[in-house]
């Protein structure tokens, strides 16, 4: 299950981060932070290649014994990082991709709001609801 979902801005500060179990939030924050290095590495590796949908999804960034971290980057270098519990082996790559796509859609909706300044933290209720549904659903 998705235990933590984070949206990181281009400058690598978090726009939105939320975890399910309220304990160990700090641990997830740390995990997301360290995964940013891997994300950057993958982005730079892509280099001059065309950034298309396939490459927006970065895939498994790194697994640990408890959980796996997946990454996704948008064209504007906004990164989505998802931490998934390893015990849930039923999660397939496609599902992760679809979850990222939903995240991207919701993020775009947030962007469309003229009262949202890019770079602000995301307070949109619709976004929150979507993330909650994802966390709950994947549970």
């Amino acid at each position: 299950m998705a235990v933590c979902i984070a949206v990181i801005a281009k400058e690598n500060y978090p726009l939105y981060i939320r975890s399910i179990p309220t304990e160990n939030e700090l641990k997830f924050h740390y995990t997301v932070h360290t995964s940013l290095d891997v994300v950057d590495e993958k982005i730079s590796a892509m280099g001059k290649a065309l950034v298309d949908q396939r490459e927006l999804y970065l895939g498994l960034l790194y697994p640990t014994e408890d959980y796996k971290v997946y990454g996704y980057v948008t064209n504007s270098k906004v990164k989505f990082v998802m931490v998934v519990d390893s015990s849930n082996t039923a999660l397939r790559d496609n599902e992760i991709r679809s979850m990222f796509r939903k995240l991207h859609n919701s993020y775009t909706d947030v962007m469309c709001n003229p009262f949202y300044n890019p770079g602000d933290c995301i307070h949109s209720r619709a976004f929150d609801n979507m993330v909650t549904s994802m966390m709950m659903q994947v549970c």
Binding site: K102, N105, D109, C112, N113
Partner: protein, 672 residues
């Protein structure tokens, strides 16, 4: 049954109910109130209070419904099926008991109790039996004619930002034609509250002054909690009542947009964007809504709610919904988490056709009111709003600012109000059509950003393939030029220009090393050519002329085509080479031609060339070998070029595929 004072014999209950004098008076008044306007009071057919009126009266007591049920049961009305005076009196007594906090029992009413309190029945003086007949849905007889006039004016302030706020009153107002006074009283009470700022600075003082409205504590309290919400919007309730067929069906819904509100919103929309079919962009809307001085997170939430298609722009129904939410928020309503059904764009689209029915009412509305009154009223409300005590946490000054800002627009709006209903329909139909036509793809934002990015990434366009024209032109020009040169040089005869016959190349530009060696043969070739021509001319064998030409021509074309192909691909760098090639080829051609000519023609003129050729054959062999070498080099160059171009082609293909997949994926993505 005898509605006598002590009688109060509750039906078959055999209950003796002592009523005090005041109680008796009150109850009799109430009873006659609830009865038909022509009370027969005490005559043989026992007058019964109208059930609906009794129900309204009971509801006015603000007791919970089940209590009222209990009361009706206890008083025996259910048993006898009607509210006779006895039942009525018992019921009233029970109401009084319930309001005092006593349990609803027959026993409780045996004691002396305060008079039952009904929300609106504050004063006996207000029981205007005489005015009952005058009450209809439109006009209200109020104790103060000024109040009445104000009420008319107030109700016409539909242009202001007001919400449909009538929950405390609508249950009582629902039968609009009811003659019962207590129905009016809440309205006038409401007037009192709303007009508190209008007439006097303080709502409370106004109520005190308004002697006919002697509101008691709890009732005041009831209204007091809502006064903040109602401070400038009570006329909305009036309009609710005055247009019963419009809104009496939805009495309690603050999320429903009334027609006047809708008109106002539409005008605001027009002020931002004259085309009603089009959208208001996000930035424009942001500036506009920021003027409402709501905090940005709330505005953000309102936007989220109202922009249902999430495209960053507002259509007319979306704009109306957003505006309505802002109005509601300013009036103290908490923002909902989801858009209420009545604010959905689809619903608003359908609702936009409603004014057809009500336009007549609006007509009567507007015509009955002089414009000057309205403007005066607006000014007054403006000041009143400012003076209004700030009962809510909202920024009232902001509201007044808005009102001032809106004043101009609203006053301007009132003048053509008469025309409005007719405009209504056209506007609404236009809006309807626009919204049905609206089909913005969701991926609009996607496409604008990502495709641009992709375009930038795939920027360097591949080198265009070298144009083939030069060879053609060159060939043609060469041919023609040479032909014409030949013609100019040689004897201009009946030389047929069209066949691109072998033109003697400008052998002047022959390559250097071969120049010396070639000049002679070239010259000889040329001369032979010339002589050949001459011979032809002399002999006037046009067929022979043609034949060799034709022979030459196909060979020439055959050779020129491969050379052309070479030229095609190696255009710029190979010009000099081409010349050489051409010259080589020319030479070859010449040499071939001359043999052919020698073969085909039986002209004696050709023959003398043969011995010359034998001498040159060795040189020609060398020339041929060098030509072969050069050709091979050219081949290598061309092959390299070919491979490079192939690679470029592949890359372009890849880019194209990537773009196509990207485009596909960026099309409206079905969210899983």
């Amino acid at each position: 049954m005898d509605p006598g004072p002590g009688g109060a014999a509750a039906g078959g209950a055999g209950l003796l109910l002592p009523l005090s004098d005041t109680e008796q008076q009150r109850y009799s008044e109430l009873f006659s109130l609830c009865c038909s306007p022509a009370p027969e009071g005490g005559s043989a057919p026992a007058p019964a209070a109208g059930g609906s009126k009794v129900g309204d009266l009971f509801r006015a007591s603000q007791l919970p419904a089940d209590t009222l049920h209990q009361i009706t049961e206890l008083c025996g009305a259910k048993r006898v099926g009607y509210f006779g005076p006895a039942q009525f009196y018992v019921a009233l007594k029970l109401i009084a008991a319930a309001q005092s906090g006593l349990p609803v029992r027959i026993e409780s009413i045996k004691s002396e109790l305060p008079l039952p309190r009904f929300m609106a029945l504050k004063n006996d003086i207000e029981m205007r039996y005489g005015n009952v007949a005058e009450i209809h849905g439109v006009k209200f007889q109020l104790p103060h004619p000024t109040l009445e006039k104000n009420s008319f004016k107030r109700s016409d302030e539909g242009d202001k930002k007001q919400e449909t706020k009538s929950p405390p009153m609508s249950p009582m107002c629902s039968p609009p034609a009811s003659p019962s006074n207590y129905q009016r009283i809440p309205l006038s009470y409401g007037y009192g509250k709303s007009r508190s700022g209008l007439e006097q600075p303080h709502g409370v003082s106004y109520e005190a002054r308004h002697s006919t409205h002697q509101q008691d504590g709890p009732a005041t309290g009831n209204y007091g909690s809502k006064s903040a919400l109602v401070h400038s919007s009570l006329s909305r309730s009036l309009s609710v009542e005055r247009e019963p067929q419009d809104s009496s069906n939805y009495p309690d819904d603050p999320w429903r947009i009334t027609e006047e509100q809708r008109e106002y919103y539409i005008n605001q929309f027009k002020s931002l964007q004259p085309d009603l079919n089009s959208f208001i962009s996000g930035s424009v809307a942001k500036n506009f809504f920021t003027k409402s001085k709501l905090p940005i997170p709330e505005l953000s939430h309102i936007w989220e709610l109202s922009d249902v298609d999430c495209d960053g722009a507002l259509t007319l129904p979306e704009f109306c919904a957003a505006f309505h939410l802002i109005v509601a928020r300013k009036n103290g309503y908490p923002l909902p988490d989801t858009l209420p059904e009545t604010l959905l764009p689809d619903y608003l689209q359908q609702a936009s056709f409603k004014p057809k029915r009500d336009c007549t009412l609006l007509d009567s509305y507007s015509e009955s009111l002089p414009v000057s009154q309205q403007t005066r009223d607006f000014n007054r409300t403006e000041t009143s709003v400012e003076e209004m005590p700030d009962k809510s946490a909202l920024t009232q000054d902001a509201n007044s600012d808005d009102n001032q800002a809106l004043n101009i627009s609203t006053t301007a709006k009132t003048i053509p109000k008469d025309f409005k209903p007719s405009q209504h329909l056209s506007v609404k139909t236009v809006v309807q059509e626009s919204n049905t036509l609206k089909a913005r793809p969701r991926s609009r934002s996607y496409s604008s950003t990502s495709i641009e990015d992709a375009m930038k990434k795939g920027e360097e366009p591949p080198m265009p393939p070298p144009r083939p024209q030069k060879s053609h032109s060159r060939a043609s020009s060469l041919d023609l030029n040479k032909i014409f040169q030949q013609n100019t040089q040689a004897v201009k005869s009946g030389w047929l220009p069209p066949p691109p016959a072998l033109p003697p190349r400008p052998f002047v530009s022959q390559q250097g090393p071969h120049h010396v060696t070639n000049t002679e043969p070239v010259a000889q070739a040329k001369s032979s050519y010339v002589e050949f021509r001459l011979k032809e001319q002399t002999e006037q064998v046009s067929e022979m002329e043609l034949h060799p030409q034709m022979n030459r021509a196909p060979s020439q074309t055959e050779e020129s085509s491969p050379t052309r192909k070479e030229i095609l691909l190696t255009q710029p760098p190979s010009k000099p080479i081409r010349r050489k090639f051409r010259s080589e080829n020319q030479m070859l051609e010449n040499q071939e031609l001359t043999p052919t000519s020698s073969v085909t023609s039986s002209l004696p003129a050709v023959k003398p060339h043969l011995p010359a050729q034998n001498r040159q054959s060795s040189k020609q062999k060398r020339a041929i070998q060098t030509a072969i070498r050069k050709n091979k080099e050219a081949n290598a160059v061309l092959a390299r070029l070919n491979s490079e171009l192939q690679q470029q082609l592949k890359e372009v293909h890849k880019e194209r595929i990537a773009l196509e997949t990207q485009l596909e994926q960026l099309r409206p993505v079905t969210v899983l």
